[in-house]
């Protein structure tokens, strides 16, 4: 027995090292395959149109150029699209943080009749696909004159059952004694909410914020429906218009795609941890 382990002890390092190199090789290949469409997009965005149409299709730009970026700025008001998307996404995030944290507080700290029923009412909104209500919602927004407005793009998404549940989970971690002692000190429920609960649950609020921003910024169907004026379009709809132009200039399209995708990719790098917490919250329980 001891000789076997001794022999293994000599062999093991080399095998482990070989295994580790193999693991890294697989990780590199896997990552490059998954990220390939994004990497090639960045590459194309620096390529001259004349290079893109050569055969075989090039992978790296021969003479990197910023020409595509200059062109796309002239072709579409991409700065305005970015502004629109940022305004709408920020308003949705602020709205969601307010509505969801208030509701989560009611579901974790406030005793009232009908709490369970109302909790199920919130839960039920998760089962209703947005597309099943999109026709009446469009008619509503049109009838109150909100087509081509920021409020039409933002207000329908300012409540979130998912965010409410996420925050409720975080609020339930706060010891109830804290609530009791705050009450004994004469603090109102709302003051306890504002000065204790919110500061203590910043990470969860961050998750809701990042999640809300990403999903609003990346919307396509709704902004496509309710915006007609060029200047009210969001990034996703604005960039997609390039696809329907007479002559597709791919370098230009790819430069636009990079400019539109960059904010969300940056957000992924900065807020990856929060995002993962949000995505796995449902899965771990379910």
């Amino acid at each position: 027995m001891s000789t076997v382990t001794a022999a293994a002890g000599i062999r093991a390092p080399r095998r482990i090292r070989a295994g580790r190199i193999g693991a890294y090789a697989l990780l590199v290949v896997g990552s490059l395959l998954v990220a390939f469409p994004l990497l090639i997009t960045i590459s194309y965005s620096f390529m001259a149109e004349s290079d893109i149409i050569t055969f075989p299709p090039p992978v790296l730009p021969k003479n990197p150029t910023l020409h595509n970026y200059e062109q796309v700025l002239q072709a579409i008001p991409i700065g305005r699209y970015l502004l629109n998307s940022f305004v709408v996404s920020t308003v949705v995030v602020i709205g969601q943080l307010i509505t969801a944290s208030l509701a989560a507080f009611a579901f974790s700290f406030v005793q009232f009749r009908g709490r369970t029923v109302l909790f199920f009412v919130f839960l039920s909104t998760l089962m209703i696909p947005w597309e099943a209500t999109i026709i009446p919602n469009y008619i509503t927004i049109r009838s109150i004159g909100w087509l081509d407005t920021y409020q039409g793009l933002a207000v329908p998404f300012m409540a979130t059952a998912f965010g409410t549940f996420l925050l409720r989970q975080a609020f339930l971690q706060i010891p109830h004694e804290l609530h009791d002692s705050a009450r004994i000190d004469g603090a109102s429920s709302f003051r306890f909410f504002r000065s204790m609960v919110l500061p203590l649950t910043r990470p969860a609020l961050g998750t809701v914020a990042i999640y809300g921003f990403l999903s609003t910024y990346n919307q396509y169907f709704w902004p496509l429906l309710i915006t007609n004026q060029t200047l009210m379009r969001t990034t996703q709809v604005g960039i997609a218009q390039l696809r329907f132009e007479e002559s597709l200039r791919w370098g230009l399209v790819m430069a636009g795609v990079v400019m539109v995708a960059l904010p969300t990719l940056a957000l992924l790098v900065v807020g990856q941890r929060q995002l993962i917490r949000g995505l796995t919250a449902g899965a771990v329980k379910g």
């Binding site: 998954v34 469409p37 997009t41 005793q111 209500t133 795609v257 539109v260 993962i276 899965a283």
Partner: protein, 296 residues
């Protein structure tokens, strides 16, 4: 009686104050429109969306007997079948790769999960170029291994595959993150014990890994199917429902009938069917979770 009611109302008030902002929005943009979708599905409508005359089940009988609706449901099922299992399978393999204690593994995690930040519109535009028969890299790579690539978006059979492939890629990031979290929840001792019993490689994967993450796999199966049922952008940008309705899935058909043909009642009947499909999937999800909890 009156007093009891008064007390109840008072008891409801403090909670309601906090819930009101959410509830008002839910009523305005979820529950009210839901009732309207159902109502419109029973009415004939003017091209502005105003209900005119009661049609009873006419929209539904017309829908169920129409060839286009049947083709659409087949396209929807095909799209889901091509997309969901493939995306989960690829994600599982990649998540297992990522679930190793290696220095710098976080860099690979970020790269492989990058598609969570990529919008459907951006992803579709990128794949539109990759699928391009003359400029795209996909057919070039295929030609290197001796395969003559098809005109992806021109032929009905390959158009469905193209839309599915784009969607698989778009869903990969989320699926990897969910499965990685599932894998990280598996205690190391279980792998230890299996290793002592001689389990390695593929056997370890099929006998230990897959069963241990089956709750996450099932969660993704339902959630991804619901997401595929709601997919609109890829279809709008890659195929516009074509060629010959090969990718005219349910959601796209709702869009075309409501916002291109202005048949709001007919489109609403299809929206009700979408709603029922999603509800059924959600109930399956809850049912299975319930049973699992029960048996534990």
């Amino acid at each position: 009686m009156k007093r009891a009611f008064g007390r109840d109302a008072r008891a409801l008030a403090p909670g309601l104050a906090y819930l009101a902002p959410s509830l008002i929005l839910f009523v305005a943009f979820v529950f009210y429109p839901l009732t309207q979708t159902i109502r419109l599905s029973f009415y004939n409508t003017r091209s502005t969306g105003v209900a005119t005359t009661f049609a009873g089940l006419d929209q539904y009988t017309e829908l169920l007997s129409s060839e286009a609706f049947r083709t659409g449901m087949v396209a929807t099922a095909q799209f889901a079948l091509y997309t969901v299992p493939a995306s989960i399978a690829v994600a599982l393999v990649l998540a297992v790769l990522l679930n190793q204690r290696l220095r710098g593994v976080n860099v690979f995690r970020t790269m492989m999960s990058s598609t969570i930040a990529v919008s459907a519109a951006v992803g579709s535009l990128i794949w539109l170029l990759l699928f391009n028969p003359s400029l795209g890299l996909l057919n070039y790579v295929l030609s290197l291994v001796g395969i003559r690539g098809p005109e992806w978006l021109i032929q009905p059979t390959t158009a469905v595959i193209a839309v599915a492939l784009t969607t698989v890629w778009l869903m990969l990031g989320t699926n990897i993150i969910v499965l990685l979290a599932g894998l990280q929840g598996v205690p190391e001792e279980i792998y230890e014990a299996a290793r002592i019993d001689g389990a390695r490689g593929i056997r370890m994967f099929t006998r230990i890994t897959v069963p241990m993450v089956s709750p996450s796999l099932f969660f993704l199966l339902v959630v991804d199917t619901i997401a595929v049922l709601q997919a609109f952008t890829q279809i709008h940008l890659l195929t516009r429902g074509g060629p010959v309705d090969a990718t005219r899935v349910l959601v796209y058909s709702i869009y075309l009938d409501a916002f291109q043909n202005f048949q709001f009642g007919y489109a609403s009947a299809q929206a009700v069917i979408l709603l029922l499909l999603v509800l059924a999937l959600t109930i399956v999800q809850f049912g299975v979770v319930e049973r699992r909890v029960h048996y534990q």
